[in-house]
Subunit: 411 residues, 2 copies
């Protein structure tokens, strides 16, 4: 059993084939949640699951579970998975790797005719990225009850289309009630999406915890007016006020090293004409920390800064928290299974705190969970040039195989 | 002759009728240059011109000249005019007033069967606003040779459509070579677009000069990366660098009161996703001053700041000047004609430097020119709530009538 290995070439080929759907000129992938391309990607993976003999269940939020029976199907499944939606300028590996690594584990077990006591499941969760629809990690969030199906269905993209409509349109609004689906243990393999493993020249990252996250929408309302005749002192320039807040977001994160993070990723200026003083600026704020107390402190600081700015400028400023989850430490049993598998396989290893949210943190509310990281080039993800080495992806998948077998028990 | 007055109600009715085309829910107008709506607006005004007995000439950049013959047609026409394109969130009066005031002058002369020695012309110039296509004041700019027809034709909107194509599509790419059209004198009536007249409670502004303007496109290139796992110290956040430049634009203007102006009106962030550190930010810069030396100093300061920022951050920053015209003092004869007319009519009056560019500054390169301002509510324009009082619009049009008659000579 210890000599078991997955097929790295087959894993790579599957990744490259899925990456064709929504492929961009710069070598990345743009396959936003619940678009026609997402449907094509889902259909391809579901087809592969069926070919591998798995049965398919789809729940009401569009999460897909592909199941390989165990010898004792009364046991809850040992599950792995991730997501196949991407960022607008996304890469080939983020999410997709976690799903296809799970598929590769099943294909390997099939090849070798290995049965497991507990069933094995490969899941992909709806709208993990959160770029088209907020909240982020929507499918796993609804599954674990972090927010309701109704909230998720009502979420709108910038064109006003809702999750509920779009799920139905692409044919992935299933029957199963989200969460009505037992899990024995959950593992997720993922590229690190940061530079730590590469810097330290390690192959496997054992993930003790994921940072907590607070997302906000901030709207500054001034008064649009002509850029020429309006004297500087009489302006209500929404952009000038917004830029001070944008700089404070970064300043706050810098006050809480090493795990403080602060980012403004999305900005919309109205009316966005070069000779009109902006009357309204809308932007996103992303704050993170691995320590919930510090994350709360950061929340307090941005709130206080905005209150002071409102008073100081007289402009209307609204701040709405649109997503929040606390830091998530993983279960010792699953972290241990990953550590054991890595040692057995002899890969170089280190602990890496995850700065990115993952479906695993919601799965962790229902079952013991753990994650396996592999390096990605220059730590870059959410970028079309995201890249990872075949041998690292293969190594991570081998660790997944052995960690899952520790929990599912080969017979 | 001194008792002559235009018909204020008819002027107001024409303004309200034209404002229906592209009317917005908030009471403004959105009729961007060379759109279908612009064509509808043009057709309406040209129809009115024909009804008033005027002949129509269209030049290759789509400028329209509506002519009422004089008794001596060898004399160059006394021209008035402005533009009928609007901002994306524009009002009913900006530009439109200048064109319809000219029409009202002709209608009045027709009513009273008054002939003039020199012909009278009412012009409307293509794409004055510059919001859909740069450069701003395109039609009058090509007309006076400030830039070439080819440059103008090649200008693209954000969807990649060109001025040349769009002019042809809406049927306003005429035959006359731009500039091949004599002008004896040029007057333009306009709402002030600033708060000065209203604050001082004056009805007529005599405009001694228009501020010079420099427009730039600035692009900051960083590296997009994931907002969670990327440590603060390893980021190349294009937005954080861009915001320091945006603040400097305003700081520079504040160093040169009372006529320094600095505005960032347009911003685009790539990829514009809330959990992606921005890899590229593109934004506009608008600097103005009534003193060309100070405008040059301001230009030097933004250039130096950007050079220092490039060195300091290591990020790639490009700055391209996309429009420039120097401050424009108007001709004493035309300024005098406006002053005389105002005195004769007994309106309260003051001098107001124009912060906004107008087609008159390009006309001023070919003939003596002058402008007449009337107050607008709260000094607001480039905004759907732009407003002006019927009696002020009527007063400005009466001043126009008398100023034009001083030059065209009633017979
Ligand atoms: N892994 C990942 O990119 N998740 C998206 C949520 C986040 O921004 O952390
Ligand atoms: N009058 C006017 O709005 N002109 C547009 C050019 C400028 O921005 O000054």
């Amino acid at each position: 059993m210890d000599a078991l290995r997955i097929n790295g070439e087959r894993l790579w080929a599957a990744l490259m084939e899925l990456a064709q759907i929504g492929a961009t000129a710069k070598g990345g992938v743009k396959r936003l949640a619940l678009t026609d391309l997402d449907k094509q990607g889902r259909d391809l993976v579901v087809g592969w699951g069926r070919e591998a003999g798995m049965s398919i269940t789809i729940d009401q939020i569009g999460n897909v579970f592909m199941r390989r029976d165990g010898t004792d199907n009364t046991l809850p499944p040992v599950m792995t998975g991730s997501h196949i939606d991407t960022q607008p300028t996304g890469g080939k590996f983020d999410g997709n790797y976690g799903v296809l690594a799970g598929l590769e584990v099943v294909r390997t077990l099939n090849d070798l005719k290995i049965k497991t006591q507990a069933p094995i499941e490969v899941a992909f969760w709806t709208n993990e990225e959160g770029s088209r629809f907020v909240p982020v990690m929507m499918g796993s969030g609804v599954f674990c009850g972090a927010f309701s199906l109704e909230t998720a269905y009502a979420a709108k993209d910038t064109e006003g289309k809702t999750v509920g409509e779009e799920l139905a349109r692409i044919g992935y609004r299933g029957d199963q009630v989200p969460g009505d689906h037992p899990i024995g243990a959950y593992f997720e393999t993922h590229i690190e999406q940061g530079p730590v493993l590469e810097d330290a020249d390690k192959v496997i990252g054992v993930v003790p915890a994921v940072m907590g996250l607070s997302w906000y929408d901030c709207v500054v309302t001034g008064m649009e007016a002509h850029a020429g005749p309006t004297p500087m002192g009489l302006r209500k320039d929404a952009l000038q006020v917004a830029t001070t807040i944008m700089q404070e977001v970064v300043a706050i994160a810098n006050r809480y090293p090493p795990y403080g993070r602060g980012t403004v990723g999305m900005v919309q200026v109205f009316p966005n004409s070069r000779n009109v003083i902006p009357g309204e600026v809308k932007f996103s704020i992303d704050l993170r920390n691995v320590n919930d107390e510090l994350l709360n402190t950061m929340h307090g600081e941005i709130t206080a800064f905005i209150d002071a700015t409102r008073t100081g400028t007289g402009l209307d400023i609204s701040l709405e928290r649109v997503s929040y989850y606390p830091p998530c430490p993983f279960h010792p049993d699953c972290v241990g299974a990953v550590r054991n598998a890595t040692e057995k396989l002899g890969y170089s290893v280190m602990d890496v705190v995850s700065g990115a949210g993952h479906d695993a943190i919601y799965a962790a509310r229902l079952a013991p969970a753990g994650m396996i990281f592999v390096p990605c080039k220059d730590g870059i993800s959410h970028n079309e040039i995201e890249d990872a080495k075949p041998e690292h992806l293969e190594a991570g998948c081998n660790v997944l195989l052995h960690a899952m077998l520790e929990r599912a028990v080969a017979v």
